[in-house]
């Protein structure tokens, strides 16, 4: 569903992403791991068409992002890091705008979409509240609602549980799990328990390169009995 081949991105002299390749199929929840600055967000930004790769390609449903960015964007639900949203709008106004851009032009279907997204992400009590007055957890949910609204076949989530309290984290994980049945999901995180809890595959990226691409079980088997953080540290210590 999502296929990434030899992606490269340079920022000045620094090579942020260095030949990253992987495939995500429907039903997969891919945990994208790595230290800060390893190239996780940059890779996600290239898949979603926000920045252009210097080399390599990313395809979604066999459509190349570089050739048909709009077609790819309509098939992806993307939650950017720290869930940006137009703060001066109410939750409902914001989702209405997203629905309209996503092509729901009749007000009846738009309302239906927005209601469903609000219900799913438990935003009904704050629907008429201005986004900038919401707590971090609610803001994150607004980002989620925006990403799920059009039932995309692919979900790209950049640190979806960052800054949430344990209850909210749990809730977001449940939501991701229920969403993943027939979708390809990529989520980035540096919380290792999260990967254990929901991911079906792990990709560990360090200094822009894929170091590990395997199941969580195989990852744990690298150092039986050890905590995941210690395996993570061993594999990425070159970054420090």
């Amino acid at each position: 569903m999502i296929e990434v081949k030899e992606l490269v991105k340079n920022y000045g002299d620094k090579r942020a992403v260095d030949g990253v390749s992987f495939t995500v199929r429907p039903g997969d929840i891919l945990g994208f791991l790595g230290p800060n600055g390893a190239g996780k967000s940059t890779t996600m930004k290239m898949i979603t068409g926000y920045i252009r790769p210097d080399a390599g390609s990313a395809t979604v449903a066999d459509i190349d992002v570089a050739k048909a960015p709009v077609a790819v964007k309509s098939r992806i639900g993307y939650l950017p890091e720290s869930a940006p949203a137009y703060g001066e709008m109410t939750v409902q106004e914001f989702l209405n705008f997203i629905a309209e851009v996503r092509g729901y032009r009749s007000s009846a279907t738009r309302r239906e979409r927005v209601e469903l997204a609000l219900t799913r992400t438990h935003l009904l009590p704050v629907r008429r509240q201005v986004i900038e007055t919401l707590s971090k957890g609610y803001k994150q949910r607004v980002g989620f609602a925006q990403a799920l609204l059009h039932e995309p076949p692919c979900l790209v989530l950049d640190e979806p549980t960052d800054g949430l309290d344990p209850n909210q984290k749990n809730e977001v994980r449940t939501l991701i799990k229920t969403m993943s049945t027939d979708r390809a999901v990529i989520l980035s995180t540096h919380i290792l328990e999260e990967v254990e809890a929901i991911c079906t595959r792990i990709i560990l990226i360090s200094r822009g390169k894929v170091v590990v691409d395997e199941t969580p079980d195989a990852f744990r088997a690298r150092k039986p009995g050890a905590r995941l953080d210690s395996i993570f540290r061993d594999l990425t210590s070159a970054d420090a």
Partner: protein
């Protein structure tokens, strides 16, 4: 192209979701009408025309339009919503046009709200309505040209103050080029046809024609070209 509408609506209504719209409109109207009465001698001139309103507009726009245009892209960059916007299924051109047209419509609304002055002139005397309509049309086009430049400059920085200052400076250059006092200085050491050429690059000579009720296709072409060029560069700057 149908994607322009949702962007336009969000942006236009966005002005009214904060005090920005009201502050701007009040300052715009107070300044325009105040200048016409106290500096332009609206009554003393004893003419049934809006000349005293239009003559100050190139100078008033110098500050007011950068104030309205500085936020267009800077705010999106600062808030991170630019990433959200450009991972929605729309092209850069859709976004640039939607935002520009919304801000332009907002400025035209401000301009239109000076209508009581036109009614006063009509009630007190017998004005040439064609000349008044020409003045409004020219003023709207000139506002579009100022705004397109401000939108371009706003896309270059995430700092609204920088966007504002750059907007004032660039527009000031274009006002000066066509300002009769400045041209008078130039004639001291440059041949007349060179000075004419320089003056024609500025806003004022083109606007003056409209304010006199002369609708010359060349003046339409001038403002149209400034807008088209600035918006094209705006697209290029955002896709960089």
């Amino acid at each position: 192209m149908s994607q322009i509408t949702p962007v336009f609506k969000r942006e236009f209504l966005g002005y009214f979701r904060s005090p920005v719209a009201y502050v701007f409109l009040i300052v715009f109207l107070t300044a325009s009408v105040g200048m016409a009465f106290f500096v332009g001698g609206f009554f003393k001139a004893n003419q049934a025309s809006l000349q005293s309103l239009f003559v100050f507009q190139p100078w008033l726009y110098l500050f007011l339009i950068p104030a309205a245009g500085m936020r267009l892209w800077s705010e999106e960059r600062r808030g991170g919503t630019i990433e959200l916007l450009f991972t929605l299924p729309l092209t850069t051109l859709d976004a640039v046009l939607g935002k520009f047209l919304a801000a332009w419509a907002f400025l035209i609304l401000g301009l239109a709200l000076t209508f009581p002055l036109a009614i006063t002139v009509g009630w007190l005397g017998d004005p040439d309505w064609g000349v008044i309509a020409g003045g409004y049309l020219g003023s709207a086009l000139m506002a579009g040209a100022y705004l397109a430049l401000c939108a371009l400059l706003s896309s270059l920085t995430k700092n609204q103050v920088i966007a504002f200052v750059l907007g004032v400076v660039v527009n000031l250059v274009l006002v000066f080029l066509g300002w009769s006092v400045f041209n008078g200085v130039l004639t001291g050491f440059l041949p007349v046809n060179v000075v004419d050429f320089i003056a024609n690059l500025g806003f004022i000579p083109h606007f003056d024609a409209f304010a006199k009720g002369i609708l010359d296709p060349r003046d339409f072409a001038y403002f149209g070209s400034v807008i088209a060029l600035a918006l094209t560069l705006n697209v290029v700057a955002l896709e960089r």
